[in-house]
Amino acid sequence: MLLLQLKNITKRYPGVVALKGVNLDVVKGEVHALVGENGAGKSTLIKVCTGAVVPNEGQIVIQGREFSCLTPKLSAQMGIAVIYQEFNLVDGLSVAENIFLGRAIRKGIVIDRKAMAKEAARIFRQLDIDIDPNELVANLTVGYQQLVEIAKAVSQNAQILIMDEPSAPLTQVEAESLYAMIEKLKASGVTIVYISHRMKEVFRLSDRITVMRDGQIIETMNTADTNLDNLVKLMVGRELTETYPPRKPCVSDDVLLEVQNLSGNGVHDINLQIRKGEVLGLAGLMGAGRTQLAELLFGVKPKTKGRVVLNGNEIHPRLPKEAIECGIALVPEDRKRQGVLLELDVKGNISMAILERISRFLTVNKKEEQRIAEYHRESLRIKTPTLEQKVKNLSGGNQQKVIIAKWLASEPTLVIFDEPTRGIDVGAKSEIYTLLNRLVESGKAVLMISSEMEEVMGMSDRILVLRDGRIVGELERKEFSQEAIMGLASQS
């Protein structure tokens, strides 16, 4: 039975057509995966379904009722709920209060906390989630917050759950419980539209897959009838030879960075070495201390003890500024919050870390700035109409490239990547991998933090596994396996 049907939906923005005559059928009870590169039109399509965007043409048919456009309220009434990457939860309220936000159970004019907690507990039991309804949302990990968000949607009798890259912020273990949850929802008759860049989970979860590209639906097919290569080919419109481009052996014997007994910011007694030309992977669960370690090295947080030796000199960065002067760069985890300056243009973002260096008498040498920005735009193939384009108008992958360009301009010797490809489409991913290769091939060193198991194994020369702020294991290339890493990361 068709639950949701989009007929010939077209949405135009000034200068761009975001959706071109899109036709999509969603069958009741299925998990329907929606895949495509960033900018393919997936987000706009979702927004049409939630009433956030009014299409220029076409009809939306939900449970037999036809609409030319929806409002957010109408969409919710028709049983559509969306789980966004950014959660709509209130940190300072309890789990139960969040679930019943705006429709609290009351006794007269007083909120009945007990009844809400009881009802929330019932929903959790039904979904097999282990969360205390009285816990504050702020105290939950991202994974649990997401489960609360889903429970909230379910409690509102959502018929169609649209999930926008739900697994992106999750660790492997957390993602597993998300998958289990999806299976359970499906069994109880909820229809799920699942958007993801992770092909593995798409194949694992979905019944059907729809590929979007350039605002159009390219194909809808049964998951059983396709494979990864075919899917990737449809998404990018060209064939990708390999996800992890090969690199020349380039690990030298010279140690670039040596860390001895480093403690502070939640990590303890870290000892590690990175050689020139090496990619060192840092694996571990969320909260294992990987980002915290990066923050120590980059001078974001102070160390309590230990030594950091870079190129033979002991360094004590107390600010990122000082770490950068030592030759360290950090591509942070959260692109929008920590990486780019959205209101600034591409050029201004690229030159941000070297402005003082290219200034004389306090004045920026604009020709030099232009030249450097242009050089990196070309070499990284940043897709932007001009260097004066505001960064907020670029796609996620191109924003990430702008951040990388900023660091390449500062000519670092050690680059720390924290989740370098989170939320980035397949094509841009492989370009970033190539770039990483170029970095180490030119004798620089890379410290790569990643929650994507395949990525860590595909790109690293060596992997260190962290757990509870300590290094619990080191794996050489030939020892790499998902089991080995997960084993080290999750032992208690």
């Binding site: 135009r12 000034p14 942070p332 919050r337 300056l341 209101e343 870390a353 200034s359």
Partner: protein, 335 residues
């Protein structure tokens, strides 16, 4: 997709793309030059409504009236760009006023050292604001509010609430002199605004104001020493307010505790009218100048039309509200 439908669809697309493009061009002109259009409209309106308005003497008069505001607005814009606010500039103008007057009259200093000391003092007050905000992580509105009250108290303590007058003759040049037909305060304003534009456009630290105001965390992680930027910006705000204080003192020829009262809100209104975002990271000095002129033309024109002081207050308040509302609406559209 049926083939034959394609031709007509293409044409519809073309037509509506054209329409959308025109619409967005109009919108972006409105956004960029909105304040200039408002200014032009006001000037035209008052020119027709009052025959005295468009006289060159009156226009120069308007320019001189707004010059103190314009001088202080440069530092204030920097603070807004950073995502902060500086409520202490009004009191600071009063303090500089009183201190300079006291030094010249009661301590017998000559104008130059008195002015220098007063300017150093104003920069120091600004620096304290910045230091407290950056190191104690307090909200700027509270820090500068407290500073405003402290400074006003100090000014009262120095002069015991009485005006101080009787300055050397030479001192009046700053506020009352002319170069050709142009009043000196207007020239000072032009120089300082030019300096402000230069800082924002061409210096590296000017770029940092936008970066820190746009996203403090990302700025810090890009190697910007955010604390130092804050010290600098609040120090400049204090310093420029100090210059405004000197100009006002020279113009009125009498040190008064109330000389800067409420200036912070006039300047805030002008900056916001000029499109400086109260949430930081967005703004241009050239538009702030237009914002200041709008306020100046408005109050001058209303006086010429004999509108009462109180009605003027109502209008000014409404203008501020409308300007902020516009700013917020634009922000909401983005998300």
């Amino acid at each position: 997709m049926p083939r034959r439908a394609e031709g007509t669809r293409k044409e519809t697309v073309k037509y509506s793309t054209l329409r959308n493009t025109l619409g967005s061009v109009a919108a972006s002109i409105g956004k960029q030059y909105g304040i200039h259009i408002v200014l032009l409209t006001l000037v035209l309106f008052f020119s027709f409504a009052s025959e005295d308005f468009f006289a060159s003497s009156n226009l120069l008069n308007v320019a001189r009236q707004v010059s103190m505001m314009g001088i202080a607005a440069v530092g204030f814009s920097f603070v807004l760009l950073l995502g902060g606010i500086d409520l202490s500039i009004g009191s600071l103008v009063s303090l500089v006023n009183i201190v300079t007057a006291w030094l010249m009259v009661n301590a017998g200093w000559s104008p130059v050292p008195a002015v220098i000391l007063a300017l150093v003092l104003s920069a120091a007050v600004g620096f304290s604001n910045g230091w407290i905000i950056a190191n104690l992580q307090m909200p700027p509105i509270i820090v500068t509010l407290a500073m405003m009250i402290i400074i006003e108290g100090v000014a009262y303590l120095i002069c015991r609430g009485l005006p101080i007058f009787g300055f050397p003759k030479s001192f009046s040049v700053i506020g009352q002199g002319y170069v050709g037909p142009v009043p000196i305060p207007v020239i000072i304003m032009a120089v300082i605004m030019g300096l402000g534009m230069f800082i924002l456009k061409n210096t590296y630290f000017g770029r940092y104001f936008y970066a820190v105001g746009g996203n403090e965390e990302a700025a810090e992680l890009s190697g910007i020493d955010v604390k130092r930027v804050k010290y600098l910006v609040y120090t400049l705000s204090g310093f420029f307010a100090g210059i405004a204080g000197i100009v006002i003192l020279s113009r009125t020829n009498s040190g008064q505790v109330l000389s800067g009262k409420g200036l912070e809100f006039d300047v805030l209104t002008a900056c916001v009218l000029g499109g400086v975002s109260v949430s930081g990271g967005v703004g241009k000095i050239s538009n702030v100048l237009a914002g200041i002129l709008v306020l100046g033309v408005l109050s001058n024109g209303l006086v010429l039309l004999d509108v009462s002081q109180f009605v003027q207050m109502v209008i000014k308040g409404a203008v501020l509200l409308a300007a902020v509302a516009l700013d917020c609406l634009q922000h909401r559209k983005k998300t």
